[in-house]
Amino acid sequence: MITLNVNGVPHDVDVEEAMPLLWVLRDVLNMTGTKYGCGISACGACTVLIDGVAVRTCVVPVKNAVGRAITTIEGLKQGDTLHKVQQAWIAEQVPQCGYCQSGQIMAAVALLTEKPQPTDDDIDAAMTNVCRCGAYTQIRAAIHAAAKA
């Protein structure tokens, strides 16, 4: 049995140690806000925070996440209040199809933790997730808006 701490709640899962965290979240814990896009760390759709750092979970064996604080898109809210990044995402009307946006939001949360007032270059360097719909203008604007909030 493997114990994971997801969004502050412990979960026991009976899975192979090599199973990527992404699939444990999605298919075992049914927390489907974290998305599958490529499975090879090439798109960022599966990004969550592990001890506050943005990590692509499709290539993280679940055993490497044991004993660490995992935060997914479902865990960003404080009570009924959305995280300021989520609020900015809504205010700037960022998502198109929306499929990449959990990963984009988690990457943005990690960026703002590290750099509360990121420059455009900081955003270029940190935000490497694919958005096939091409909502980059809105993502950039939302990060700047969240930094001001």
Binding site: W23, C43, A45, Q96, A125
Partner: protein, 737 residues
Amino acid sequence: MALSRRLVIFGGVAAAGGLAVGYALLPWSTLDRAKRLIAKPGTTPLSAWVRIGTDNTVTVFVPHSEIGQGVHTSLPMMCAEELDADWSLVGMEQAPPDMAFANGAMALEYLRGDTSIPSFLLGTAVFGTRKIAEYMNLQTTGGSMSVRTTGVRGMRVAGAAARAMLIKAAAAAWGVPESEIVAKQSRLSHASGKSATYGEMAAAAAAFDPPIDPPLKAKKDYTIVGKPLPRFDIPAKCDGTAVYGLDLRLPGMSHAAIAACPVFGGTLVSVNEAPAMAMRGVKKVVKLPAAVAVVADNTWRAKEALAALSPVWNEGANAAHTQASIFAGMEKALDKGDLTEDNATGDVDAALKSAKGVIEASYRVPYLAHATMEVMNCTAHFEGDKLTVWGGFQGGLDARARAAKFAGLPMENVTLKYTTIGGGFGRRLPDYYDYIDKAIAVARQVEGPVQVVFMREEDMTQDFYRHASVARMKGALDDKGHVTAWLHTFTEKHDPPEAVYVNYDFANRASRYASGTNPIPWGAWRSVDHTQQGFFIESFMDELAHAAGQDPFEFRRAHLAGAPRHKAVLEAVAEMSGWATPPAAGRARGIAMREAFATVVAQVAEVSIQDGALRVHKLWTASDPGEVVNPATFTAQMEGGAIYGLTAALYGEIAIDKGRVVQQNFTDYEMVRMADAPEQHVRIIESGARTGGAGEPGTAPVAAAVCNAIFALTGQRIRELPLKNFDLTTGKKLTAA
């Protein structure tokens, strides 16, 4: 046309009381069915499309899919505008995938001869051989059509008719003339002080017949349309609660990963199931005629077990194809000259013959995959002779019909349930419902529901591809630098018919094309033929400008004397981008324009090359869709469409080797990301022309704008995409196709 008399609006009392109004090209008998389907206690459907609750809320039923283009908000906006509803009380639901909600407006537009409508929206059968009624079976979302057909012809009329019925009811109840009733913000009132909410009057309104031709508002009276209102679908896409197809979780559900024969048209000979069956969580290996799937208790176990199999395929005749052989076949077809002529004016052959000099250039583009962010997937569940299917589809009704046909069941036995859709771009259109067929084929052999997924590699190698194409362009100029001849020869014409048109006033022009050169499954890809034609036409236009020794903007403008709308858009983008002022040192600009899906788009790209790497710094877009419903979503579509086209220009290449797709994932099918994404500026021009599309036009000119900028910077004309294959400073190709 006889058909227009059937463009009628339906109204009446819903079973549950309240009001509903609809429009349609439908048999009268389907109205009751539509209203039954949307009946809800405490509400009145005023038609198939509008339902008003006693609590005064309005629900608009949208017969299209939300694929990120904002249609689940823009169509309700159009309806609410004419209804004079209080927007804060308006909500929407996707119309049920039922014949009663088929979309006749799209068919009507087609019958009027609109050449911007792609034929894939109308099925593959030749028009005229099928009954008109069959076209009513449409809920398809594609061709940038939703706002310009369903919205303009349907939603506005439905809203106006519901409003008229509410006014009639109030006039009758209060004993005053209809003309004295004011309907505003979901409330009816009269100078006498009488007043009622729409909700209070809905049941009485349903007793009236809806007017067939209710007057529509003038643009100056709009209070909802034209505003950047927030989209209904966005909050759930920001907190992980939106349920995409791949997120569906059902009691007892299995997960299946599938692999089709990598060579198109090949079949499965045999597979040793043992390696997969020995793995944890694996329930079954399903053999299909041309694919193998592994069913397991989760996606990862299914995928790992699938990878452990070594299926034996009969690859068939297509295994001989390579990218080089396909391009060689295209060149040969053009050499042979068995071509179909289209869009010809004057005598281009004579004009070329008598020209002092002929300018010639050849262009080439590769195959492209859609690569929607959410891979293809579909969930299916058989319970006896009943089938339920869940997923993301660009046409719900077509999906249900396809499922019924594939399963060999009557439509009534098939329930279709919508999920949120992680990208369309054409891939989830009805002609490409292979993922539905595969899910059903697997589900047939499995107890309980099964979610069948194409892992990314399967999604990329089992797509329906924007076809590779070659073009040969010829042009001639007179002494003043005006084009006297324009001959555009290319391989493969699909959709829409307008994609080869040019809006420039060329006295002698023709396009001619060869067919039958593409052995790979074809699919409509965002903006369809505009993707390659925009690159060919607008790059060559630039070549002619330079041959004439003229500024590329002025040259284009000089050829738009008969097209004031296009000229205005071109001038707008020149003004926005400061075309007249040279860019900073080391940078250059390129310009291109297209009319696509009835929207005119002009773009200017500003680029530099540093250490051999191209950077597109800025992209200005001026766009005239006639009239815009939601400027925020329109702008996002222009920008996103441009990124889609830019990805293709910079990186997009699907190559064929041994009959199979070489590229597997985002590592070898790279995408524009944040650091590559240009700063974008969009200006919307509302000329009042017939409403145009939003989803696709922005994709069409961008490759040419970028390549024209590269020419301005380096003097190198790149005539083949993607640009990653070229040393842009020397114009030399880096890798063989």
